[in-house]
């Protein structure tokens, strides 16, 4: 995926979210660290162009909610979550770059529910690469990509990586 394709995809997804949510009044986006954060900000930017509406954006670090802390490298480094609005009664859209096993989203929902009781939580991802291990699906998907277990989807965003593209690469053993 090129920079232009990523941009077009996010524009489309922004339209879909506004359309399906039936108004932006209670809508808020939550970007999952790290690459969900710039994606959520860009979708919010795109929404400004559609409705002229300011949709609040929060960020969520899911490290403390992971189910595999014992298996990842010792001392998974924590980052801050910043959700500067109440989530009670809100229509939240979780935003992440790649949907794979679904475990990240499971962790993110646990984190969200510690903050209150949103009215609805939906999921938006740039890439759905399959291989789910949880009963989790995205309501808004940029692109579905068939992958094998040995492949990796590399999402590179200019805010974090100083370049902009999505590529499928073989895992280096």
């Amino acid at each position: 995926m090129s920079a232009a394709e990523i941009d077009r995809t996010l524009q489309r997804v922004a339209h879909e979210i506004v359309e399906k949510s039936g108004g932006t009044k209670h809508l808020a986006l939550i970007g999952i660290r790290r690459r969900g954060v710039p994606l959520a900000q860009r979708i919010a930017q795109a929404m400004r162009g559609i409705d002229g509406v300011e949709v609040p954006v929060g960020t969520l670090d899911i490290t403390l909610y992971r189910d595999d802390l014992s298996k990842v490298a010792p001392q998974a480094v924590l980052q801050s979550s910043e959700i500067p609005f109440g989530v009670d009664g809100m229509d939240l859209v979780l935003v992440d770059d790649v949907l794979y096993t679904g475990r990240t989203i499971r962790a993110a929902m646990n984190g969200l529910f510690d903050l209150g009781r949103p009215r609805r939580v939906s999921l938006c991802v740039l890439i759905d690469r399959g291989h789910r291990e949880m009963p989790i699906e995205a309501q808004y998907t940029g692109r579905v990509v068939q992958t094998s277990d040995t492949e990796i989807i590399e999402v590179r965003l200019r805010e974090i990586d100083n370049e902009e593209r999505v590529v499928l690469v073989d895992r280096v053993e």
Binding site: L64, L69, S70, P74, V77, L78, S80, D114, L115, G116
Partner: protein
């Protein structure tokens, strides 16, 4: 950056980058203190043993709260109710607690070096919650976090420490921590409470002792008050009236410090003795922020030590190593994930 020790026994051996890392890792836990639901499941199924061989209310409750908000269970041992009164040695008590399979031991003891001693004989992380007159690392960290939040930095500040310095592990931890960031110290109190040796405990750090509070407060950015520790005084000491007259921090004296100076106190405060209510409850006081931050800092410590320890165990099922001091974990974890035999017998 990471934290390379198995235990947290003292701040003196840490470098500035490691301290900054610990403070940064406390930030997410500060947010959790503001959540409507404060309980995580991160350490579910883990047990934190709290062994307090010396009285403590605040620190014990703080560690207990930190453990339970991380989802861990706690075992509590308190001196008054323990077998210590029946003659059990410190090490036997530690071995017995360890036999109940906790994942971490938090201990306070009246002897300097007690936590270090116990840690050499256990295979679980040990957190020093205060040992004699040596160090109180979690207090040093929570003070630094409080200062950093309010001032935006902990670098190059003028720090005045007031009170009974000779018995104070809080003062030592503060000097070791803030000294690494270029802070300059002025120690002040009655002469018998301000031993000159303290000026040399952190080589490279500017530390001076003065005996007049007015002089000590001049230009201070941070004022750390210490409690008058009646339980540690063996010889006749100063009367309350003399202390109030000579060393009480009141609003008038506080004016000599910088207008944005912070006032910290590790508690419990003797209101009306070392500090007036006006100052204790005033806008410059950080006393309650310290308490809130204490839970966050201790959550970060337990998270790093317990999750980190867990991460290293499958690769290195370490037998109890005597004489082990602060295992360097970064060198272990950089090894290949395959259980390559490492020469560790040296």
């Amino acid at each position: 950056m990471s934290y390379r020790f198995r235990d947290l026994l003292a701040l003196e051996p840490l470098c500035a980058a490691e301290i900054s890392f610990l403070l940064d890792q406390s930030k997410p836990f500060q947010e959790i203190q503001r959540h409507p639901l404060k309980k995580l499941a991160t350490l579910r199924g883990k047990t934190v043993a709290l062994a307090f061989f010396e009285n403590s209310t605040r620190t014990r409750i703080s560690f207990n709260t930190a453990a339970s908000r991380l989802g861990a269970d706690t075992m509590n041992l308190q001196a008054e109710a323990s077998s210590l009164k029946k003659g059990e040695t410190l090490l036997d008590t530690a071995f017995n607690l360890n036999a109940m399979k906790p994942d971490c031991l938090v201990m306070r003891h009246y002897s300097s070096g007690a936590a270090d001693y116990v840690s050499r004989h256990l295979d679980i992380p040990v957190v020093n919650a205060g040992d004699g007159t040596h160090e109180h690392p979690s207090q040093g960290l929570l003070d630094a976090l409080t200062i950093r939040d309010r001032k935006g930095t902990i670098e190059n500040l003028n720090v005045t420490i007031l009170g009974d310095l000779s018995h104070s592990r809080v003062a030592r931890s503060n000097i070791h921590l803030l000294g690494k960031f270029g802070c300059r110290f002025t120690l002040c109190g009655p002469a018998m409470w301000v031993p000159r040796e303290l000026e040399k405990i952190a080589p490279g750090t500017a530390i001076r002792s003065v005996y007049k509070i007015e002089e000590a407060l001049e230009d201070a950015d941070v004022i750390i008050m210490l409690r008058v520790q009646t339980e540690r005084q063996h010889e006749a000491s100063i009367s309350d009236n003399d202390y109030i007259h000579g060393y009480q921090l009141n609003a008038e004296r506080l004016k000599r410090a910088r207008p944005d100076a912070l006032v910290l106190h590790p508690g419990p405060m003797n209101r009306g003795i070392e500090i007036t209510p006006e100052v204790a409850d005033g806008p410059q006081s950080c006393v309650l922020d310290q308490v809130t931050n204490g839970v966050a800092v201790r959550m970060a410590i337990l998270y790093l030590l317990v999750v980190g320890e867990q991460g290293t165990h499958p690769a290195a099922p370490a037998p109890i190593e005597h004489n082990r001091r602060a295992t360097d974990r970064s060198s272990q974890s950089s090894a290949s994930p395959e259980p390559v035999p490492q020469k560790r017998d040296s």
